[in-house]
Every structure is written in C-alpha cells, then in structure tokens.
Symmetry: none
Subunit: 304 residues, 2 copies
DNA sequence: CCGAAACGCGAAAATACCTTTCAAGTGTGA
DNA sequence: TCACACTTGAAAGGTATTTTCGCGTTTCGG
C-alpha cells in the first residue's frame, strides 16, 4: 500500500510552490536539527531532490530519522514523498527564475525604499498565503458560514480589526455576524452558541488565551469552529473544526509580526467572505446593492 | 555501486519535457512489454509518478525488471530517477492551466480560483499604490506625524478599521494617537486641535461627509491635516495639507470598492507608520520591545 | 520439420533506501 | 538538585529498487 492517505492532523497540504513559506510557518515549532534540514530544503530544493535520506542527513549534519521527521512535519508522508514534491518544485523554479532579493527595512532607509520594500513584502505574503491555503478547509469553512444561524468572531489586538472587517462584510450581505473584542463578553456570548452556529477565532500566534477561550466554549457547545492562524500546530487548533493557515512573513524590528500577519489574515478573510457571498448569492446581491445605495447619500457632492 | 554510468548508446539525455517524443522515437527499439510501460508513462506522467516499480509493473501487466529496463532505455539511471523526472514534469503541466486570473470573480468560480484571483488582484493593487504614492507628500506627512503633539484619525465604515490599525501602531511606539469612529465626537475633539497637532482623514471616495467635517475643523484650527484618499480631487482635499493617494482597484459585484481599497489604504498607512518609527527610533524601539514583552504573558504555553 | 542460439521476460535474491524504535543525551522547571 | 519532558541519532526493521538467473519463446540455418 503505497498511496495510503494517512493525512496528518497538522499540516496536510503537499504544498506545491509554497514550500519556503511553509518552512517559515512551521519553523517555530521545529527543533534545531529539524530547522537545519528544513532550511537546506528551502534553500536548494533541486539539490535536495537529488539526495537520498542519508545524503541529506549527512549534508545537514543530522540523522535520517530527523530528516524523515521534518518531512512529516512539512505535511508529507515521508521523505520519499517530500523528494517527489521537491523534484516538481525544482522543475518549476527552473522555468520562472525570479531573483527578487530584498533586504530588511533599515532605520535609515529613504522613504521611497520603505514604500518599495513594504509593497514587495506584502505582495510576497499574499502569494505565500494563497499558495499555502488549504482550499478544502476553506470550502468547508465557507459552507459552515454560509448556512450558519449566527457567526461569532474573536480576535485580539491587531487581529480584532481583521475580525471586525469580516463581521462588517458579512453583515452587509445579510448574515448575522458579530466581532467580539472584549474577551469576557466573548465567552459569555459563546455559551449561547449551539450546533448550526459558527465561531471564528483569529490569532496569529495560535496561542492567544483571550481568543482561544471563547472558541473552546463554542466548540464544547457544538458550534462549528474555525481558526485563522499562522500556527496551525498551536493550542487554538485543538478546538477548531477547520483550520485556515495564514503565512508568516519575515519580520524585523521595525515591522513586527502582528503587522505583517494582518495582510495574510485579510486575504483569508476576504476569500471566506467571497465564498460565502457566492453561496448566498440570491440574498447577498440585493443586500450589497442596498447597503451601497444607503451609503451614497452620505457622500457630499464632488466639486469639480 | 548505484551510479555506474552504464550508458546506452541510443538515448542518454534525461529529457525534461520531451518525454512523449522520446517514447515515440525509441518505441521501435523496444520489446512489447517495454512498450506497454513506456506508453503508460507517456500517457499519464503524473499518475505514474505516484506509483512504485511494483505498482507500475502491475498496472502494465509486466514485471519490475521490465520497468527498470524501460527507464534505462529512456535514458535514466533507473526507475527512481525516472520517477523524479516524472514528478517534475507533472508539476510543469499542472502550472500550465492558469485559472485565468485576470478575469473578474464570478459567482460560480471554484474556491481555488477565488483565492488565486483575489491574491492576484490585491498584489496588483499594492503595486499600483506603491507606484502612485507621492514620496514627497509621504515624507512631509511622516515629519508632521513624528513630531506631533497628538494625532487624531478619522475614518468611516471600512476605512475606520484602517484608522484603528494606524492608531494602534502609533500607540505602540509611544505616540498619542486616537482613531475616531463617532463623527460627532470626532468633531468635538477636533475643536481641541491646534498647530503642532496632526489630523488624518481616511476616505476612499474622498467625499465622506462624516470624515471631511472633523478634518475641516482641524484644518481651521491650524492643525496639520493629512488625507488618505483614492480621489485626490475630491472634497476632502480642500482641507488637507498633505494628500496621500491610494489606488482604486477594479471592483465587481462580489467585491465592492470598499473591500479593495482597504489593501491600498493599509499599505499607505504602513508606510506612514514605518516612516514615523524611523524618525522616532530612539523612543520607538524600546516602546515596541516593551509592548511585545507585555503581550508575551498573555499567550498560553504551546503544547508539543 | 528440427535443433541450436539468441532473445524476452519475470521470479526471486540482493541491495539500497526509507522508516521506526529505542535508549542515551540535553535542557528545564519545581 | 532531582525529576521530567523533549531531542536526537544508532540501529533495527520494512519497503522499494535493482540485479541475477533461468525458463520459455522465437528465429533461422540445415
């Protein structure tokens, strides 16, 4: 039995092009030696594809066991599987050579460079997120949200804004959505949830207690729970029926993780929203039109 | 001895994409069973890449030995080598069918296409924004904000979230910033502003009365005013000392302008923030570190 | 039509490769 | 300082691939 689908609960998408991104996402949860292996693989996929387990183990100064463990963590069945993916990736990058080297944003960068670097980084983040997003999970999340009686959203800090953004949009197409910012009220409200309701937790770190707690309660109450997180192996996933992974961009001193993760989260949220809007098109379209119409009156006429 | 170069006089190049052609060329010099194997490989490279020698042997009704012999004849070191090449080839042809990401998002697009299109659109928006952003205006805005006694931010609807995002970040580096959502309170507060203060209005349409009004008051009071808008010719610009232009992405029925403008606004806001952080690095760095430290304690430990 | 030689082919042995287990090493918190 | 949990590589255990070997078949000269 070669093709058994022994999918792992954590990372399961074979990830075609987004390997580098995946390495970055999972890197924090890796041990030192695993990181060495992952790094080698991300650095030179083509080269590694030519190596056997033993070869890669020697190259990275680790053992075969570690190599296999790393492959598993990255979502593959084993090293053999990873190697095949690597071969595919190598063929890919051979055709589309994109150098695009960007250095970190420095304190003394002129403003024009800041704009360019920031824009490039965010574009990269979007590409990574799109590539790494599990469409099956997303589809499931969309289905749940589209038919939900009510949707509760939890987020803290920067993520709370993403939650509000989602809530705003869902409300616009006539769904009952609410973004909670107060953790106490969130829990209090979560108790009211039951099967047929949907709870969405947004946390980059995957371990924000204030967000996990209401999700846990919702989960226990039988609601369908969704986690949007950059750490799919984090505690939040315990209570999530569907996990949507955001990508982790490089962060620097001037650009904390909270900031770069937002871009990724917003893309995921937008996808979720569009998906839901598609499913509920009959009611969504008129609702959108109506809200647009209502807003038009709040604009002052444009002077020419 | 695995890698002995027992060269075959006929074909020796690993043949990247021209596998089908090679099969046809070599076909006459193959025995019947080898032809069956070669045919299977040429027909469905991706499928074969997923099979082991044994699997492919069974599929073609031949033996492992024959499969290996065929691989050799095709110019590979063995079946393992062929399989890797096959994987690469499969990845290639997969990338061939792009989901026509330039078209609008349709109601019946599969979820995977939605993700691709959305990501592509947002990337485009970022590029446009970065290209169209006036760095002189941005520099001036940064200077004003970096030295401001206090910063008030106005936004309505989706833009209010962008305002909050900016306020959150400025607060994190020790500046006094406040994002107003209530138009009445915004005006009431704007009255307090004076020279040395900064007011920022965020409006995509450039004509949102609720946002223009407080900016006007601030302007009249002598504060430095900044407008972040997609319509630099709109009414809001009358009262803005510095205008930062966001780009307008294509909008469609499923994707209202409010949604696509957000990406652009956030990039501008990020640039503004980074600029300010650079200028106030001495105080910003420790403040960032402190807020990071404070948050660390709100994370539940990660289960391994 | 017959027999010998060459060839095609697959079963099974041999090998290389991958995976799992396990125990020793290492750091960490009480 | 001890106990505990986590890392890690060595080695055992399985699979997949390659090689060997010999049987059956075809071919061709007599």
């Amino acid at each position: 039995m070669t093709n058994q689908v022994k999918e792992s609960f954590i990372g399961d998408a074979p990830a075609p092009a987004a390997l580098a991104a995946k390495v970055r996402t999972l890197s924090p949860s890796m041990t030192r030696s695993m990181q060495r292996v992952a790094e080698a693989v991300a650095d030179d996929p083509a080269g590694c594809a030519a190596l056997t387990v033993t070869g890669l183990a020697e190259l990275t100064g680790t053992s075969e066991a570690t190599v296999v463990r790393t492959a598993r963590l990255l979502g593959y069945l084993g090293y053999r599987d990873l190697r095949l993916a690597l071969a595919g990736l190598a063929a890919h990058q051979e055709s589309g050579r994109a150098p695009a080297i960007t250095t970190d944003i420095a304190v003394d960068d002129p403003i024009a460079d800041v704009v360019a670097k920031l824009a490039y980084d965010e574009q990269q983040t979007l590409a990574d997120t799109a590539a790494g997003l599990d469409t099956v999970q997303l589809g499931a999340a969309v289905s749940a949200a589209a038919t939900a009686r009510r949707i509760d959203i939890y987020g803290a800090g920067a993520s709370s804004l993403v939650g509000m953004d989602l809530a705003q949009k869902l409300l616009r197409i006539g769904l009952i959505a609410h973004a909670h910012t107060d953790p106490h009220l969130a829990v209090t409200n979560a108790v009211q949830l039951r099967s047929g309701d949907v709870a969405i937790a947004i946390t980059h770190s995957g371990s924000t207690g204030d967000v996990i707690e209401p999700l846990r309660v919702a989960f226990d109450r039988g609601a369908t729970t969704i986690a949007i997180t950059g750490r799919p192996d984090g505690p939040v996933s315990q209570y999530a029926d569907h996990i949507l992974t955001t990508s982790t961009a490089r962060e620097s001193e001037l650009r904390p993780a909270a900031m770069s993760s937002r871009t990724s989260q917003l893309l995921v949220v937008d996808c979720l929203f569009i998906g839901v809007a598609q499913r509920t098109y009959e009611s969504a379209a008129p609702a959108l039109a109506a809200s647009y119409e209502a807003l038009a009156h709040r604009h002052t006429p444009r002077r020419r």
